[in-house]
């Protein structure tokens, strides 16, 4: 069954498309925004902005290090720099530039990584950002956002431009189930509770949010009361929501399309351990690179499914 189907969700835009539309739409109001591209604007979807505002868009070629420091220079002169590439190339190729030209000087640079996770599919592991959240979270002062669908991505794009300081926005390639229909009350660092429940809490972000909703539907059929939280901001994390979940439901499953180390699971665990230790189980990629193949097949093979979330939850509930 496709992601989100069990919980009645319809496929919507990919998060990268939603970002591209939002950026272009916000472009005339947010006059300080400029984009810096490394020859992938038609993949990251900064292209519509670049076409609408050619004087405010720069393409430095396939040179991510240069791209990020140029964005830093623009920001140090008062611009809001949006610098986008594949998550893997942005965070891994230009990590030191993000550290020194963006994070350390706390500049107003908006890092955007598309093609995150293994759901990009056929292009394979070299193109899959699976460690990007860990790398972004490791830098002091950087806000890290992983929205799950088109509506929340548009809201996150606006929130990112309004935020003063460095941010990282993680985007996916495939179409994403529409979790939010009417709108989304997106606030950086404020988790959104999608379902109320008392027996267990499923905390997820990105594509794993619809998977968590599907899992909740399944678990509810079996008589469990399940809380589902969209933890769209990994840093700063919503401690209050996590502590409440730990205290009120006593069990937590964290699901993300990322390596086991340094992502949402790590961030949630720190809060739980320090404030209200309860059993936590994890659904993630583990400690491995993936492979080429169709996106859905990969999610299945590497255990990033609602079934795995159900299994993890049942392990805690039994």
């Amino acid at each position: 069954m496709a992601l989100g189907e069990a919980s009645g969700l319809k496929l919507g835009q990919a998060t990268r498309d939603a970002f591209g539309d939002a950026l272009k739409d916000l472009g005339s109001e947010y006059k300080d925004v400029v984009t810096v591209d490394g020859d992938v604007g038609n993949s990251t979807r900064t292209e519509p902005f670049a076409q609408a505002f050619p004087d405010r868009a720069f393409n430095v070629g396939i040179a991510e290090s240069n791209m990020v420091s140029v964005a830093g220079g623009l920001a140090s002169s008062g611009k809001t720099s949006v610098v986008a590439s594949f998550a893997a190339f942005l965070l891994c190729n230009a990590y030191d530039q993000i550290r020194m030209s963006v994070a350390f000087p706390a500049l107003n640079v908006k890092l955007v990584g598309s093609h995150a996770g293994i759901s990009i599919g056929e292009d394979g592991p070299s193109q899959m950002g699976i460690e990007d959240v860990a790398l972004a979270c490791s830098l002091p002062g950087v806000v890290v956002m992983v929205p799950c669908d088109a509506v929340s991505t548009k809201a996150a794009t606006k929130a990112m431009l309004d935020h003063k300081g460095p941010t990282y926005l993680r985007l996916g390639r495939p179409k994403a189930p529409a979790v939010y229909q009417g709108g989304c009350d997106f606030e950086i660092g404020k988790a959104i509770t999608l379902k109320k429940g008392d027996d267990i809490t499923l905390i997820a972000n990105g594509l794993m949010v619809p998977a968590a909703l599907d899992a909740a539907t399944e678990l509810e059929k079996k008589g469990h009361s399940v809380r589902v939280i969209d933890m769209h901001t990994v840093k700063p994390i919503d401690e209050e929501a996590i502590i409440a979940a730990a205290k009120e439901t006593g069990k937590i499953v964290v699901a993300e399309e990322h390596l086991s180390h340094g992502g949402l699971g790590s961030a949630v665990s720190m809060v739980v351990c320090e404030n209200s230790p309860v059993p936590v189980a994890f659904v993630n990629l583990g400690d491995t690179f993936a492979e080429s193949g169709d996106g859905d097949g990969l999610l299945e093979k590497y255990g990033l499914t609602s079934n795995e979330i159900v299994k993890a939850a049942e392990g805690l509930l039994s």
Partner: protein, 340 residues
């Protein structure tokens, strides 16, 4: 456009002929006395930079189009050299030899009429920007900034001390007037390119100057920046390679010989000049030429001596690179005497 310039302290205060105190014992005031509280906070772009207006302790006159004579510039260069040695010896760490090679370039930029800035309002949006890509040479920049009145000369003694914004490498969050946080070599030219592009977007006439080390030229990112700066024909960007012939572990010939920078960089589409960079006359001439070129980025390959001004002492010590170490006090005394 408003042009605000300030007379450097040593020229303005008529100290021309008067010998300056050469004592190594720079006053070391309490840090709270020297740096206001606001310096401990985070300076986000644009905002807090204004807080710096209080720190300039000397009242400079506004001066249109200040251009000092070559002799006056040389006099300032000597002051900077002395202060570089004093502050690194006082800090008992730092990179004096890397700072000394770039003295003429930095002096000419700040005091030769090539850069517009306002030491009392470092955040002035239309200012020209100076990026020290070889951030370890920051003592030369601090010395110039003190001379220009961004802060007082006394404050140089707090270099690398806890609580001082005069960190071991430039930190724009803590010191207004610093345009880029550097120290990881290779990033300054890209940052300067971003600033040059921002001026284009804003339709201001801001210019950007970047100083790069010759060893630093081994970083691939610089070549990325060279290519993209040429693409955008940033006529407001001037870079200077401080070609002092040495890097950390030896001469550039031994470690990584990049050959003739002019021959390599010209084909990228840059205007390139090669000069003798410890000659104030040549530096001023080259900057004038660069100023007159506005249709493409400009590079000055500045052939210098690492430790220029005190070379005989480095030779005596058997280390003409003298990378990353301060002069021991006795050697520093000799250096100050040599410079007087």
């Amino acid at each position: 456009m408003i042009r605000v310039r300030r007379r450097p302290r040593s020229v303005l205060s008529g100290r021309k002929g008067t010998p300056r105190s050469e004592s190594l014992q720079i006053r070391s005031p309490e840090k709270s006395e020297v740096w206001p509280e606001s310096y401990y906070g985070i300076f986000l772009t644009g905002e807090a930079l204004v807080a710096s207006t209080e720190i300039s302790q000397l009242d400079f006159e506004k001066n249109e189009g200040l251009k000092l004579s070559i002799d006056e510039l040389k006099q300032i260069a000597t002051t900077l050299r002395k202060n570089i040695i004093k502050m690194t010896t006082a800090a008992n760490s730092g990179h004096p030899s890397s700072s000394l090679s770039a003295v003429e370039v930095v002096t000419a930029l700040y005091f030769g009429g090539f850069m517009n800035y306002d030491a009392k309002n470092p955040g002035w949006p239309e200012r020209d920007r100076f990026v020290l890509s070889k951030g370890h040479a920051v003592p030369v920049l601090y010395a110039a900034m003190a001379e220009a009145g961004f802060f007082s000369e006394d404050q140089l003694s707090t270099l690398r001390k806890l609580g001082s914004p005069l960190e071991g490498h430039p930190n724009l969050k803590r010191l207004p007037g610093i345009e880029a946080s550097t120290g990881s070599l290779g990033q300054g030219l890209s940052i300067g390119l971003g600033q040059a592009l921002a001026a284009r977007v804003d339709k201001t006439s801001s210019k950007v100057f970047v100083v790069i080390g010759d060893g630093e030229m081994g970083e691939g990112q610089i070549w990325e920046a060279l290519a993209s700066a040429a693409k955008y024909k940033v006529g407001n960007l001037t870079a200077i390679i401080d070609q002092n012939g040495y890097q950390q572990t030896g001469s550039t010939k031994e470690v990584l010989d990049m050959g003739d920078f002019q021959k390599k960089i010209e084909p990228f589409g840059w205007h390139v000049q090669t000069i003798s960079g410890n000659s104030m006359e040549e530096v001023v001439e080259a900057l004038k030429t660069a100023e007159s070129i506005t249709d493409r980025p400009k590079m000055i390959v500045s052939k210098t001596k690492k430790g220029d001004g005190i070379l005989p002492l480095l030779e005596e010590a058997g280390d003409t690179n003298f990378h990353g170490k301060p002069l021991p006090p006795a050697m520093a005394e000799k250096a100050l005497a040599m410079l007087s």
